[in-house]
Symmetry: C2
Subunit: 122 residues, 2 copies
């Protein structure tokens, strides 16, 4: 048995509200996190919501990073989905926590795509 | 206490390999799933990997849908992250399962951003 992907879910509470509201900063932070994770960026999409909140996704060669912010709750939901062994998820987590001035972090890690020889079919 | 987001993780095994390899079909399926969920698409990014595999993300007004495919394992990892009560996640799951000819589906649902009055700060 083997897990194809490693999916890390971050709950970032008590963050800096002004950063959470700023699509430019959020984009820089998510791309910076991808860089810290030593991930190769191959696509991106960001969106500013009205009256507030930002969503962003970066597709990486190793899967994706995503962020959704709720400035009114000082909260951001971040996902780091990687495959292979090369990504440095811990560096990315530390960078995001610091960049958002997060005072309350929870991390949940889930194995995705646990496969065995019975799963490979023609 | 209140959950800002609902994050549904789908493990789709024993899928149709040819569909998993085709970025055009995968894009249609993810956008179709967003439509079935009654979600409003505001951004998208898709990438074809070599020698095989597709990654795609659709940003919706209600958060995001993502897919990563491993054709060699007949497997796809799909996330449906929504907020608010309007999204019809079940319709999206049924559509994706059918479109990928998935014979083995697992669903994990996670509440994101469980907040209370103590989380809202200036």
């Amino acid at each position: 048995m083997y897990a194809l992907g490693r999916h890390t879910l971050l709950e970032l509470k008590q963050c800096d509200r002004e950063v959470l509201e700023d699509i430019g900063e959020i984009r820089e932070i998510l791309l910076g996190a991808a860089e810290r994770a030593k991930a190769k960026v191959v696509g991106e999409s960001f969106h500013q919501f009205s009256p507030q909140g930002v969503s962003g996704v970066v597709i990486i060669a190793e899967s994706h990073l995503s962020i959704h912010t709720w400035p009114e709750w000082n909260y951001a939901a971040v996902d780091i989905f990687t495959c292979g062994d090369s990504a440095n998820t811990e560096e990315a987590i530390e960078f995001m926590t610091r960049s958002l001035s997060c005072q309350n972090l929870s991390v949940l890690e889930i194995s995705r795509g646990i496969v065995g020889s019975h799963d490979a079919q023609g």
